[in-house]
Structure formats: C-alpha cells, structure tokens
C-alpha cells in the first residue's frame, strides 16, 4: 500500500513492510507551498518502526525538517522507533537541533495579577510626582544661580527659542483666537438676542477673551506646538547621549537646556496672550457688526464699561503661569524620555497631555484665588 501525493511538488511514498513503515520523501519541499502532513501519510497504520529516506528530494528547506520532526515526535509518543540512519548527516544534525530547541523553548509568562498592577501603578504615580516636584525645585535653584551670575545664561538659545515659540506661533494663534472670538459671539448672540440685549455681546466677548480664553487658548496651542517640540528635542538629545555629555562636563542640563526655554516661554506667552485677546475681540466685533448690526465703536465703548485693567492683568498672570507649565512639562518629559525613537514619541505625547491637564487645573485654581482676592 502506498500513499503518493502526485499533485504536490513535495512527494511522500509510505509502504508497510511487516511492522516497518518505509517513508520515502521526494520532490521539492518548500515552506511556501502546500505539503503533505505526517498525519495524512500515516493514516490508520500503527508501525513499530519507521524508516526515512530522502534520496529523491530535489530541493528542500525547513519544511522538510518540520515533516520529519513531526514524524519523530509521533514515534516518540507512540513507542515506535524512528530510524533516521539513512538520512544525510546535515538533516540529522538539524533534527537534533530542532529537538533540542523544542525542549528548551518555554514561553515566558508576563502576566501580572491585579494587586501587583495596582501596586506598580501607585508606585509609578508617586515616583512621577516626586520627579516633577524635584524638577521644578531644580529649575528654581538653577534660576537663582543664573540670577546671581547672568553671564552663564544661554541668551542666544533663549532668543532663538523666543522666535520659535513666539513669532513663529503668530499665524496659528491669530487664526485660533479670531475663530474663538467668532464662536463666542455667535453663542452669546443666541442667548442675548432673546432679551434684546444684543449689545452685551461686547461685554461677553471682552471679558471672556481677556480673562479666560486668550491665555487658555494660547496655552493649549503652545502645549501642542512648543511643549511637544521641547520634549522631542530633549528626548532626542537624551537618546543621542548628548545630555550625558553635558552632565559629564559638569554642566547641568537644567541650566543649559531648560532655563532658556522656560524664560522664552515665560516672556512670549503673555505677549501672545495679549495678541490673542486682541484678535478674539476683533473676531467678536466682526460678528457683532455682520450679524447683530452693532458698530465697532459701540462694541468698543460697551466693552470698556466692564473690562478693566485688572482683568487684563489676571489674563497676563495666567498666561505667564501657563507658559511655565508648558515649558516645564515639555522639558521634564523630554529629559525623562526612554533612549529610543519610540521613547521620544511617547515623551512628546505625554508632554502635551501633561501641559493641558495642568493648564486646566491651574486655571481652576486661579478662578478661586482671583475670587478671594477680588481681582
């Protein structure tokens, strides 16, 4: 009785002679093609001994090994003797290697139980909190050192960063704050019109932009634009061992890299926020003029009845804080980045998330504080 797979490039002929199964392989054995399996070849036969020959094999790759290995495994499990004596030395050696690697390959269990996961997450949270506060502390200390010795400060870097995060951000800040003004005006008009108080849309826009939206929207834009860029730059420098090179020279990364960026953001943010206020008010004015037929002069005069210099100051204080938050988040995440390309990507994402989170938290705290102070 013979099993012949004529249609396949890989052929197997198996014949019983007494209780010995003579298995003869031939043709082309390639992993990318369909091949006979040991189960099909064996069928219902239960030989006590299996002898293999590969004399007629024209070309083979690992798939031949896998067939022979499956047969060998079957023999082992069923107490049959696998006779590989007729196989070429090379194939026998590979079969031995395959059997050895089969034995030693034990999957690694990476699963963790719930308690361990919670524990690790908690520890992670604590260490992140500590890292953040010590980083802020370090920034303050090195800022104090720089104040004592301003010549050590990297003014040139600071000016380049100012240009990057300030002047270069003007187009996107203009667009976004103008549109925020437009949106607020439409939303306000919807409500105020019902009471015939169209003109009060000026108060709404003025107050909202100057106290809240100018600083907030600029902060969010810079978190995405500048915070992410800082994290990516510093993360990349860390991956390239540039930060290590600074540290081994005794130059603290905070003084050299972080302070110029923080100062740049701290100076540029309030300027950008003031600019955003103006553009937002302009957007509101445009809608008031077009939709509510309120002249710009009337809008301006009405707005000045409620918006005071104190409101502008409140906005500027917020803007400075948001700027520092964006800078600290970006630089911290960059310095904490893993030393790999993926680490740099994660640092940039994390910088944006951290910055926006803390901007919102700080804004809420300011709302309470200003209420107490009466600003």
């Amino acid at each position: 009785m013979a099993v012949l797979s004529e249609t396949l490039p890989a052929r197997v002929a198996a014949e019983m002679a007494g209780d010995v199964l003579e298995v003869s392989l031939g043709g082309v054995w390639q992993a990318a093609e369909v091949r006979p399996s040991w189960g099909e070849v064996l069928g219902t036969r239960r030989p006590a001994r299996v002898r293999f020959r590969v004399d007629e094999v024209e070309k083979w790759d690992s798939s031949l090994l896998l067939f022979l290995f499956a047969a060998q495994q079957w023999c082992q499990a069923n107490g049959a003797h696998a006779d590989v004596g007729a196989l070429p030395e090379k194939i026998r050696l590979l079969l031995t290697q395959l059997a050895a690697s089969h034995e030693t390959c034990v999957p690694f269990d990476r699963t963790e139980n719930f308690l361990i996961t919670v524990g690790l997450a908690t520890r992670d949270l604590v260490s992140k909190g500590t890292a953040m506060s010590s980083f802020v502390g370090e920034c303050v200390l090195s800022a104090a050192r720089v104040v004592k010795n301003p010549r050590k400060f990297r003014w040139r870097d600071c000016i380049v960063e100012m240009q990057q995060c300030g002047a270069m951000a003007l187009p996107i800040v203009s667009l976004i704050s103008f549109l925020v003004g437009v949106t607020l005006a439409y939303t306000g008009a919807l409500v105020l019109r019902q009471y015939g108080g169209d003109i009060y849309v000026a108060d709404l826009i003025g107050l909202a932009m100057v106290r809240e939206m100018g600083a907030m929207m600029t902060g969010v834009v810079l978190a995405g634009r500048t915070g992410a860029a800082f994290a990516a730059q510093l993360g990349n420098m860390k991956a390239n061992e540039e930060i290590d090179a600074l540290e081994t020279l005794g130059i603290p990364a905070v003084t050299f890299l972080v302070l110029p960026r923080l100062l740049a953001l701290g100076v540029m943010m309030p300027l950008l926020a003031l600019y955003a206020n103006a553009l937002g008010i302009l957007g509101g004015m445009a809608v008031a003029r077009g939709v509510l037929s309120i002249s710009p002069t009337a809008f301006w005069v009405e707005m000045l009845t409620i918006v005071s210099l104190g409101d502008v100051a409140a906005g500027v204080i917020k803007a400075v804080t948001f700027g520092l938050i964006v800078g600290v988040a970006g630089c911290l995440r960059g310095l904490q980045a893993d030393r790999s390309a993926a680490g740099v990507g994660r640092a940039a994402t994390s910088a944006v998330v951290t910055a926006i989170l803390f901007i919102i938290v700080a804004d809420a705290i300011f709302a309470v504080l200003f209420n107490i102070v009466g600003l």
Binding site: A31, A32, T104
Partner: protein, 270 residues
Amino acid sequence: MIDPTPGPATVPAIEASRLTCGYDGTVVLKDVSFAVRPGEIFFVIGGSGCGKSTLLRNLIGIETPMTGVVKYFDRVFAENDAAARRALLQTFGVLYQSGALWSSLTLRQNVALPLEEYTRLTPGEIQELVALKLSQVGLSGFEDYYPSEISGGMKKRAGLARALALDPAILFLDEPSAGLDPITSRRLDELILEIRGMFGTTIVVVSHELASIFSIADRVIMLERAAQGIIAEGKPRELAADSRDPRVIEFLHRGDLPAPGVAGGAASGQ
C-alpha cells in the same frame, strides 16, 4: 536552507554589471561590476564613506541603481511586477547594522513575522522553526524578550535569526561585527561559517573588521571613495601579500603598523 543546488554552477549568485549608484544626483559608485559565486562568503570592504552601504542598499533592492543591473541567480528586480519582486526578496536574508529588530515585538514574534507572511506553515510549525533559528544563533531561552531587554550582540544575533527565517539563498550582512567585543565578534564569524557550511548560503558581508576579513572571507572587493569604485578584488591573504596598491596595503596592513608611541614594535596582527 535551500539545498545548495541552485542551477548550473556557472550561474553566479549575484552578478552586478556596470552599476552606478548614489543618491540625490550624487554618484557614489560608478560602473561597478562584480560577481559572487554560489556558496561564497564575499566581503565588500573599504574605508568609511567609500560607498559600501550604498552598494548594499542597491543590492538588497531598497534603492534602485542609477544605471546598470544586478542579477540574482539570473533573476532581476522586475520594475513593474510586485509579485516577482516579492518572490525575489523572499530569497534574501538581511542583517542590518543595528539589528533592526521591531521593538514592539518579542524575539519570537520578530523571527515569526517573515514566516507568517510568506509561508504556509501552521502556527505550531512556525513556533518550532522560530525556536530552532533562535537556538542556532545561541539565543535559546530569550524567545520572549523584547529587543530593548537584550544586549547589542544579542540583538545582532537575533537579527541574524530573523534573516535566516526564510532559509535565504543569499544572506546580506551589514557590518555584522561593528560595535561587538572581539569574542562575540568571533562567535558571529564562526556562526557565519556554520551557516554557509550547513546550508550552502551565499553570504555577502559589508565590513571593515580586519579580523573577520582574514578569517572568513573567500573573496573581497575593496571600494574606494576617490576612485568611486572597486580598486582591488581577490582573496584577502593574496591581496595583503601581493597587492602593490598603497591604498590596499594601508588598509589591509593596519594591524601590522606599530602602535602609536611604541617604538619599533610590530604587532603580529594576522
């Protein structure tokens, strides 16, 4: 692991004819021709910036030569036939300089990916083969580690296991021993010899490690930056002994030069 019967012995494994390559309009290599015999360990050597890596990138099909053609066992990269291109790529194994393991996958998944992509093996069979390939490069027990958790030498070996996954007919190795300690680097050389001995694989190595060149290369071509091409071709020992080209002598006898500051002492490098 394709059995070393790749057609008539006269067909070279790789035949490059009048290859000109470079990038962005800058020519790095001009009119380069050479042939690699089946089962040969062929080294491309030369100083930094001489175009070794450019040549390799052209050979493995990542970049297209500006002019000229490369034949692999008489087959070429067909320009508009994606299926033929894939079929040819399947017969290559490439070890990149950094190992280039996919960082989000474990070693097991790294080696398994080409098998899953190109073969009709069952998942169980793939696992068996992955274990075999990793044990052949001495990484048994590290199957479920991520690339970031292993050393540089191990990454290279894992990269080699991945390059071997599809039983390539031609194996390309880019600076396999760069950045490795002498012992690890020698083990890698032994492994390369073993692979050739067992599977008859044609192996093209880009390297400037003198120790490897002298211990495992059957034949080398030496590239040079100013010449924009091959300045020497032959067996490394013969080149070292017979070449009169000062550039070749300087490169191959680096080990013989007295160490800086050591008067008269000649290190017996080879």
